[in-house]
């Protein structure tokens, strides 16, 4: 198991490097001088030269790439000061260190993810299990029908409606905003409640449908029938035998959803005017701010790889056939 982990971690580092390289060189295919972009209206050749030197753009591309990658491990020195590891460079646009702007935004992204996750896991899996348990009854039909309707909704459709009702018309709630958890957990939760609920609605519907269908599939497995033939209680068979097998597809999808959410919930952030990682990513590519784009890409890639490894570990925990001897 340890060997497996080490191998996966090394693989992850290699993939991170490749993603970095790919993003970097892809960016340089844009037919534009980044120094000119940051120079503004009254731009003299001397100014451009200074900017170019400041941003390190006067060096060959490969050298720039090397500086960027070593900066992540060892940190870098800029004219503005030392950027300590993990240094993802300095924004062309604002002159801020990229790692610092990511860390500014990350608490919001993390809060959005965690809050939404708790809601959609409890509601989604709960209602899916209920529907599978009561298969064919009115309760099942209600849950299944509702989940199909809700999963075809979109955040940018549902969001403004909820805002319109709860904020602009009735004034029950305030506009969503991020207030740090460490300051006051209650205001933190109230500030993000609307985005959580809207985001969780769509995810809940998906998880309901998924858990219902995998449970129904599992309940028809022969080993589940064997458990019943042994005289085990229906509830025991349901949760111990059928549920165990349903976890594999659920964990798979959960891993993908989580890594997507942690690398920025773009639509949610734009809908509720929140500044998270997703917004940073979109803004930086619009302004062609290479270091920020690189940073956000690598940050997202990190979560994708991390969750991949975690999901694999979860598989091994759930299914002994996956365990490596």
């Amino acid at each position: 198991m340890l060997q497996f982990l080490v191998r996966r971690l090394i693989g992850a580092v290699v993939i991170m490097f490749l993603i970095g390289a790919f993003t970097f060189f892809l960016f340089y295919t844009i037919p534009q001088d980044f120094a000119e972009l940051s120079c503004g209206k009254n731009c003299s050749p001397e100014n451009i030269a200074v900017i170019r030197e400041n941003l390190g753009l006067d060096k060959p591309i490969t050298a720039q790439f090397w500086e960027f990658m070593t900066g992540i491990v060892a940190g870098r020195d800029f004219a503005q000061g030392h950027c300590s590891a993990p240094c993802l460079g300095m924004s062309f646009d604002s002159g801020e260190f990229v790692w610092d702007s990511i860390m500014d935004r990350f608490p919001l992204t993390l809060s959005l993810t965690v809050g939404g996750l708790v809601i959609f896991l409890i509601l989604g899996l709960g209602s899916g299990l209920l529907a599978a348990w009561k298969r064919g009854t009115a309760a099942d039909k209600l849950v299944s029908g509702a989940s199909i309707v809700l999963s075809s909704f979109q955040i940018y459709f549902l969001g403004p409606i909820v805002l319109g009702i709860l904020v602009y018309q009735s004034g029950i709630m305030e506009n969503p905003s991020y207030k740090p958890f460490t300051e006051n957990p209650v205001t933190w939760a109230i500030g993000l409640l609307i985005p959580w609920l809207v985001m969780a609605t769509i995810f809940t519907a998906q998880y309901t449908r998924m858990s219902r269908s995998t449970m129904i599939e599992q309940l028809q497995e022969e080993h589940v029938r064997t458990a019943r033939a042994k005289g085990m209680k229906q509830r025991y068979v349901f949760f111990r035998y059928a549920w165990r097998g349903s976890l594999i597809p659920i964990v798979t999808i959960l891993g993908m959803d989580l890594s997507a959410l942690l690398s920025g919930a773009v639509v949610t952030e734009f809908t509720f005017d929140l500044a998270g990682i997703g917004r940073l990513a979109v803004d930086s590519s619009l302004t062609k701010d290479l270091p920020v784009t690189m940073g956000v890409m690598l940050f997202g890639a990190f979560f994708i790889l991390l969750l991949n490894i975690l999901v694999d570990l979860a598989y091994a925990y759930i299914d002994p056939r996956v365990r490596l001897s």
Binding site: G136, H223, V224, R225, T226, K230, G231
Partner: protein
Amino acid sequence: MSTLTKTEGETAPTGPESFLSVSDLRVRFSTEDGIVKAVDGLSFDVARGRTLGIVGESGSGKSVTNLTVLGLHNPKNTTVEGEIVLDGKELVTATEKEMEKLRGNKVAMIFQDPLTALSPYYTVGRQIAEPFMKHTGASKKEARARAIEMLTKVGIPQPKSRVDDYPHQFSGGMRQRAMIAMALVCDPDLLIADEPTTALDVTVQAQILDLLKDLQQEFGSAIVFITHDLGVISEMADDLLVMYAGRAVERGSTAEVLRRPRHPYTWGLLSSMPRLGGSIDQALTPIPGTPPSLLNPPSGCPFHPRCAFTGEVPGDRCSTERPPLGEGRAAACHLTAEQKQTFFIDKIQPRLR
């Protein structure tokens, strides 16, 4: 014991000795295409210490019958009529709770494919111990000791370490042994074996059959052995029930039925089977046609569309009148007793050499 020893004309064959008695069982599934008559008026008895073999092709209702005995059918789309009496207790009307107490305890089942029938997520030991804890109230420790004891009994080497293995770490034959250990852990009085050797290779098959026979002698349980393999059934069963289209078409002691079969379907089954000592020039004769759809079973005798002997029965009785299955040694066929004998001796027996 079987219905063989019963006197003619006795209805509801629930003699004092019969442990499981199924009478006039009808099982119907409602599907989107219509109602499937999976089992249609089936009766049989099994006594303690005896083995009843049930043979028939796929879809003849063998497995459905036995799942119904355990109450494992889906109650939402299945209707069950008739009587299933186990040791004096009616099972068709029993509640789920009562059935839970019986399953794995008084009646246990061995399934066909031990790979899919054992859960991949729990150790073999746990799966064996579970019903023991549930039915006897034993502690975890006791149940584990019992699981090891059972694994030893079914011939698993190093049971003390193997008890913590998962099913995928077992070979096919060992898995079936584990499955048998699981079924026998509470000393069931009735064991239903649903094609327990079909998924195994021949040498392992023989071992498993020997094991079942030994265990039956030790525990004295009644066994219902379902298979489509006539070779296996001749090894195992005392009595034999041949099923076709959800009905019993022939019944008798195994030796009788296999040596002097009386039903054209049984003749067909025997003629289509290769023989070790047979001439290689003797072609195997398949039964013509295809098994009937149970959505819309043929009228009269369900076998009549495939039967070569309908011409021998006067009128159209074969397609209009359902032949009854008498008591004891019997075949549900309109041919007269003499006809059955002469046709078998003249037309069928030569092919079986």
